[in-house]
């Protein structure tokens, strides 16, 4: 069919758009090896591996990484429970206020992060809750719910209700049906949603600046380095490692939801 062949101008525009999306990230990889440590000079005057060793020996980087991983793990766990429950309810039936529930779930990411951040902070202030690990988790879990919800609700919609009825007709009770029919059906969607929630939490900086107090997650550490650079090459290396680490859950989530119409991660 002639209409299926793309015009050259479309090819160029689409290709240029994709390049625009990817070249800046690739540039980070080059800068991680540069010998220049005072400016952002291009082209790099020389290449070296020594900044990897320097970064490896920085305790502040490790501490920030550890905190980020802990926060992401717990926020993801909370989001998995809340998001799945919500998706199960919304996809099961038409009930009064159904639209409101989906809106409520989307709200934490539909509103600007600075709003979510300052809102949480003013609650902590009014309720006199001191900043801690748990205040960070509270904020992260709130906006991670939507990612799990999106993935789960798409899968629930395609899981036919007759499957559940058949299980019940064959004598299984609700819990057996949940365990042996429903969970295997939605497991990959949950795993994908969980991975994306993890990536989202691992990367979050705007809300975290309002809920973290003195603690440094990895993004907060990077933000400090961006505002007041101390050792630029270390920032370069950390940036490269962060790109590589966040790639894994995204690729994982993609392969888990591939071939289904669940669009993983839509509406981050």
């Amino acid at each position: 069919m002639p209409s299926d062949r793309a015009p050259l101008s479309l090819k160029i525009a689409a290709g240029a758009g994709l390049l625009f999306l990817h070249l800046p990230i690739l540039l980070i990889f080059v800068y991680a090896f540069t010998t220049e440590d005072k400016s952002y000079q291009w082209p790099p005057p020389g290449l070296t591996l020594k900044w990897f060793a320097v970064t490896w020996n920085r305790p502040d980087v490790w501490a920030a990484l550890r905190l980020s991983l802990q926060v992401a793990a717990i926020s993801t766990a909370v989001a998995l429970v809340l998001g799945t429950l919500c998706a199960a309810a919304v996809s099961r039936a038409h009930f009064f206020g159904r639209e409101t529930v989906s809106l409520l779930v989307i709200l934490p990411i539909a509103l600007p992060g600075v709003v979510t951040g300052i809102a949480l902070r003013s609650v902590f202030h009014i309720a006199e809750i001191p900043f801690s690990f748990w205040t960070i988790v509270l904020g992260h879990a709130t906006f991670c719910v939507v990612v799990v919800y999106n993935n789960a609700v798409a899968r629930f919609r395609r899981t036919s209700g007759s499957l559940i009825e058949a299980s019940m007709d064959l004598g299984a009770d609700s819990f057996q049906t949940l365990r042996h029919v429903l969970l295997p059906n939605i497991a990959t969607a949950l795993l994908a949603g969980g991975m994306l929630a993890f990536a989202l939490s691992f990367d979050e900086v705007i809300v975290t600046t309002f809920t973290a107090g003195q603690q440094q997650t990895l993004p907060i550490w990077m933000l400090e380095e961006l505002v007041r650079p101390r050792q630029r090459p270390v920032t370069n290396v950390v940036a490269m490692v962060v790109v590589l680490v966040t790639l894994l859950p995204i690729l994982g989530a993609y392969y888990l939801t591939r071939g289904t119409d669940a669009v993983a991660g839509q509406g981050k």
Partner: protein, 301 residues
């Protein structure tokens, strides 16, 4: 006992739904809506400029402060930036979404999908940082401009009053480019979703009825893609309105709403004014979401 409970769940679907919904609604309702309510309340408080204490009598004085010329400037600048970023994202996103939706098949389709998802999910700060490298005076862009003998164009642009600056990384142009870069994937995905729903036969019909390719694009394709563009613009608009990190790292000293919120509640200690500032994007987005809903944009999400 469990069996009886299970039977109850099956017989009373409403109870099941209530039980399913209770934990997420308690979390989101109490934590999140509670927080928003606290924010709203704060915006009606005011600050005593002598003592620096927050005065808890309800007043509209803080909102009146928003109307001061300098604050109004911040709001206008942010909204203009958000509108420009949304427009530019839509223009750049359309060909990518169109190619991915209509022409990419099999392996290419997967490649396009990952090609959009990977930048979307890459670290936000790393993306901003990469532009600091690119836009720096000694960076790759200046180098490229010199190699292509275009340095005069770059310098000419930087000499312009509002959009220019000492280097691109401290200019409004830089802020704009980074905003477009960071939010572009949020525009591509919904536009692509909308375009994938356009039946090819409709485009063929348009051609059969004598429309030139451009006319088909203008009168058939664009109207059908609009819900996707509106859905994408919710993200690009909202994210630009509230961001305070990008203009802080790459941009001139002229402030945006997000920065004003951050400074007022932090350094200045004027939480009521910060809260009032934060209400601006909320109100704009509420109006925007309401209009988008009328357009049916949520189906394209």
């Amino acid at each position: 006992m469990m069996r009886a409970f299970s039977d109850t769940l099956w017989r009373r679907p409403r109870l099941t739904i209530a039980l399913l919904l209770a934990p997420p609604l308690i979390w989101l309702g109490v934590v999140y809506l509670g927080a928003l309510a606290a924010l709203l309340a704060q915006s009606f408080f005011s600050i005593d400029h002598f003592t620096g204490q927050v005065n808890r009598d309800l007043t509209l004085a803080t909102y009146a402060e928003l109307l001061r010329a300098s604050n109004l400037d911040i709001i206008l600048r942010t909204v203009t930036m958000a509108a420009l970023v949304t427009l530019a994202s839509a223009v750049i996103a359309f060909p990518i979404a169109w190619y991915a939706a209509r022409h990419a098949r099999g392996r290419w389709k997967a490649l396009f999908y990952l090609g959009v998802m990977m930048p979307l999910w890459s670290s936000y700060l790393v993306k901003v940082y990469s532009w600091k490298l690119i836009l720096a005076r000694e960076g790759i862009l200046t180098w490229g401009a010199e190699k292509l003998h275009l340095a005069w164009a770059l310098n000419g642009w930087l000499a312009l009053p509002v959009v220019g600056g000492n280097s691109l990384s401290v200019s409004a142009t830089g802020t704009f480019v980074v905003f477009v870069y960071v939010w572009l994937p949020y525009m591509i995905l919904p536009v692509q979703a909308a375009l994938e729903r356009v039946p090819p036969s409709m485009l063929e019909a348009s051609g059969d009825l004598g429309a030139k390719p451009f006319q088909t694009l203008r009168h058939v394709l664009l109207p059908l893609a609009m819900p996707g563009v509106v859905a994408g613009s919710i993200f690009t608009f909202s994210l630009t309105l509230g961001d305070y990190i990008i203009p802080g790292i790459i941009g001139s000293s002229r402030r945006f709403i997000g920065q004003a919120v951050y400074e007022q509640q932090g350094v200045a200690g004027n939480t009521p004014l910060a809260a009032a500032f934060a209400m601006v994007p909320i109100l704009i987005m509420a109006a925007y979401l309401w209009a988008a809903k009328k357009q049916g944009a949520f189906n394209a999400l």
